[in-house]
Symmetry: D2
Subunit: 375 residues, 4 copies
């Protein structure tokens, strides 16, 4: 029996929920092995002490970032699940340390050939917000600090495979979309591209499970504060707004300004967006539906539901699926698009692996075909 | 020590969640005694067998509606928490049985004098949808059957005390607003009356706890189906839409058509509406806030939160409060109004008691000053 | 209209969940006014900023403990909801500052006369563990530090009114039982006193909502860690064990050693204990039931459920009730006693108020007759 | 590329939660294809209409049991997830229809050879209670009806692979253990076999998520009844008691009578048992731990946690794992064993697949190595 060589993968920032879900999913991925995991405050600990559900697997202990010996560790892929700002610094550092060609020239195309990829330079999949905004001034404005990798930014590819698949395939640095942008963009990009909806008055009412808030110790995330309750947050101020607008503007070919209000819902996982749009003259809800069906006909992870079936987070729990549907609004000339994903999978770790698969020339669905878990 | 005479109260349909919360609240109301409770399938049972948390109180057993001896039972107030359609028939029946003057003439004004009220004719507070829609044709269209009390309908008062207080005081038949309408109308009526927001493009994204769905046995309401998940329902089809539109149209003085999408959230109680509105030329978000502060300055149950504080359902749990706030939308010329209530209290049983207090000439807040319960 | 003079009440440590529930309950108590609230990290803030559900009431702002001017504030009652160890120091300090007679002589009896009480010395109701253990050596052993108020300890009364009502009436310092002890002792004391069950092999399997863990920032209390999961904690090591044993030993007249295992359950409130006991020769389950019915026949807050009805936390949510029942075990000679309370009410703040009522000569149930909240 | 022939699998009763989890797990099992799914009330529907999370997969529509053409459908394995009593009848029927040798002779041994198995007679994995109790009189007593397949019963193997692996390998009819028995037996059998604990006074306090109650419409399973609450049920009467006693008696070599009390906890999945045992003279808690470590050293699905780590349901969510640990009880001579599983996986569908793997001669872990899902 021949043994498939496995890609060596590192996870920077493995002690958060995103890191945990990367591990969960990669453990059953047939083509990779987890060779490195870092976590600052928990350096030195086995991952099973940090996430008891991951005890008992053959995984390296957590180490601090400064303990990583970059060229020596010989990683094929690095997932960077660090806080924004830190991410930039660390990615610059590791590219330097590995003498990566990304630093001095334009993005190198991969051949897509497996053997080549394995022997090639490290691929970086960034799950932070650091390389999502194409305009570093916008970054500075929303994240309250100057971007520290301005020359690297243009080489990053925005990793929404359903939209940018070809670019992702050739990328060495992919910026994974935020969870809210993922659900919104999958719903809206085909409609804006087709000129079916107005670029004005797009209103996104978003609802998320609590894992999206991360594992940091904030009173607002305590069980008692969240359970048996709900509320909006960051009204008119959420950092995913400029990200969504950037990609919608690209799709629409004109400036898009959105209304976006996220809400915290007492559940661990799941994200649902109810999106209110204005139809262009002569367009019907049926046209929108047809457009989405068409756009995603061959997509393994995006499903358009049947007439009248409402997307629900329980349809996608734990999986890399996005479910969409379109509804007639009571106000004439308007429609409602509903989009549901698992914020930790399609909204984060799953999409990161989907990007990795593309970057490594693997089948895009490898390791991502788990059925949703319900109940 | 003199003993205050107590009003005799009946609850028709006491075995639902609305009925249970009526009992919970009335048990500490100083001016009433619960003299009658009906429930069809549970007739003959003590309420404690149906709702164990209500065991041990001095309460009458549940009886069937046809066992009620209408004049003999000598009720001062009847709360009707029956399903729609049934409500009409039962209210007509009890008015007949008590020879109520409401049947043959126009609404009689109460004097507001306590002694008079006690000796007067029965007051009916209907918690169903049966008398909410002023136009019985609209009723027929949305509820799928002809209205069976067409001549009674004009005598019913829409029981939103913050808007119709004076009419409620004189009413003998009050139709309590639906839970969704309550949260929406308190947020929007002052703004429309003041001409600050457009009557067009009002988009209401509503989220409710599961008690709003009642205690009936539906697969969709099982714990496992709801927990750790969320989804919209009745998109573009919810029966609270015409009710909201009716009252907004009255307030605006022009036809209002709304977009309204309710969502089911895994919590028992609580309702939150995120309402997206368009500002009239020259109006600012600050103007909206001022208007709400003004409108509700003397209202005991409506609070406008301070700058930047988001309404949350945990602020009102178990109480008759509504909390409101206004936020700048990112889209210029738009604003976001957020409204939170407890769907079973201000959205139903509490508001019913508030109406009763007014109808009986009692202080409006009697028995309703419980602080919210958090955790 | 004559105005009843109100007792002036202070809450030390008002920013925790226990403090919040004290405020919730005291707001509708007819005989008290909240004159003082302290909180160290949140000193200077209005309570509504710390607990938004308490905004809008006429309450003093939070101040730091060192800002309290002890004699000048003229409190009739102090609730001390501070962490253990701190509690001792603070209570000693306030007794000194007010020149309290408790410091130099034996406990003074109250006359039970209202006017006298108002003009009398301050009453202290301690909700911490600091005065619960009668033996200060046991305290030192379980709390990891010497007791710092050794001479005060004997003057404290263990505040379980159903057991120590007369002593509480005369007390100036009451130590409120822990939540787990409350549920256990109400179930077991009458049975041990009657000699119906063995003092050996008492096994208490306890389950609690998360509010029992307080509002402190621990990863283990984050929503995501708790929701959709459960687990035991502090197995064989929980500090409520010696407290339970102390009171059971008193009741039994012989040494009692218990097995006690608490579990964390994904709910905000509620505590349920399933207690496995061995029947004394010749005793039946029916005898146990009769004994409990007898013991609590006149108790306003303890209910023995009917044959076969299982105590459930939803029967007591938000209320000061305890519900109990007894069941035949499958193992001959054993029985199962089930006890449910709301950990924040009968298990903490409600019981504290019950003690206050007794200490002030008020009706024991004043302000505590809220019906449980279900849903 | 050669194609592995796949075993054809049928699921009888696919519209319950157990059926859904069978489908979820089998969808990624490399050696089987789902060839048949039945559901009576939902016959004719695609599975995606019944379980939207399973929409979009290549699966047969649901049919009624009487539509199954038994020999023609050529199943290699049948999972029977039907209600008890029905199960017996249906299994008898399908064995008849396929002319199965199980009906007229003793259990036939499988060769363990893959090709043979495929061409062999159908294997039945029953998830109901119908073949779990070896004594059909005990069955009649606990299930309120005579057993209708008395001669088949002795040929059924009790499918707890960690205990009966060899028998399962050769079986044609396996009775999967109940969820509660699975957690209890894995914890206790090694200890009883080793004579380390007393067969008397074994007290099992069990807690389960709500999916264990199935998808049937009962008021007690509504979200509002369960959420934010907990309670025991079936105290002293649960049907899993005789099943647990049967297997413990076999292990102990003497009669075992247990105390068993299940509780309903507001979570979808997960089961935790806190088991109180008496140590045999001279045995220590350390001995128990060593025994469990030893017994499960080579087991892929059972983990003994490290010193002091408490089993928690979140460690096993969605996976086929069981986690165990042992703790010193405060009462001398006693110990506490804690066991956690996912009731739908190791407690039901996962274990059924584990049995299937053994019966088909596949690697026991095939398709069952998903990491637990946390959050």
């Amino acid at each position: 029996m021949s043994v498939t060589p496995k890609f060596r993968v590192g996870i920077l920032g493995a002690s958060g929920y995103t890191g945990a879900d990367l591990v969960r999913l990669l453990l059953t991925h047939p083509n990779v092995e987890i060779a490195l995991m870092t976590a600052e405050r928990k350096a030195g600990m086995p991952i099973g002490d940090v996430f008891p559900h991951l005890a008992g697997y053959d995984l390296p202990d957590l180490i601090g970032l400064d303990e990583v010996e970059w060229p020596a560790v010989e990683l094929d892929v690095v997932f960077c699940a660090l806080p924004h700002a830190t991410s930039q610094e660390v990615i610059k550092g590791l590219l330097h340390a590995t003498g990566h060609s990304l630093l001095d020239e334009m993005v190198v195309e991969t051949t897509g050939d497996l053997a080549d990829s394995i022997s090639g330079e490290v691929k970086v999949v960034d799950l932070s917000a650091d390389f999502r905004l194409r305009d570093t001034d916008v970054y500075a404005q929303w994240y309250g600090r100057e971007h520290s990798a301005v020359t690297l930014q243009p080489k990053a590819v925005y990793g929404l495979p359903e939209v940018n698949r070809d670019q992702v395939r050739k990328a060495h640095l992919v910026a994974c979309p935020g969870c809210y942008p993922t659900a919104a963009l999958l719903a809206l990009i085909p409609l804006l591209k087709a000129g079916q909806i107005s670029a004005e008055d797009i209103i996104i009412d978003a609802k998320s499970g609590v894992s999206g808030a991360g594992r940091s110790l904030k009173e607002a995330n305590l069980f008692v504060e969240v359970a048996e309750a709900m509320h909006p947050y960051a009204v008119g101020q959420h950092r995913h707004m400029p990200e969504i607008e950037q990609e919608l503007t690209l799709a629409a070919g004109e400036d898009v300004r959105i209304s976006f209000t996220p809400h915290l819902v007492p559940m661990n996982r799941g994200e649902l967006e109810t999106i209110y749009v204005r139809l262009k003259e002569g367009t019907t809800v049926g046209d929108l539906k047809d457009q989405l069906v068409d756009a995603y006909a061959d997509e393994p992870f995006v499903s358009i539901l049947e007439e009248g079936v409402v997307p629900a987070t329980r349809m996608v729990r734990g999986s890399n699926r996005c479910v969409l549907n379109v509804f007639q609004d009571r106000i004439p000339g308007r429609a409602i698009v509903v989009s549901a994903i698992d914020n930790l999978v399609k909204g984060s770790s799953g999409q990161a692996i989907q990007n990795m698969n593309l970057m490594l020339g693997l089948d895009e669905t490898t390791g991502l075909m788990q059925a949703p878990m319900f109940p």
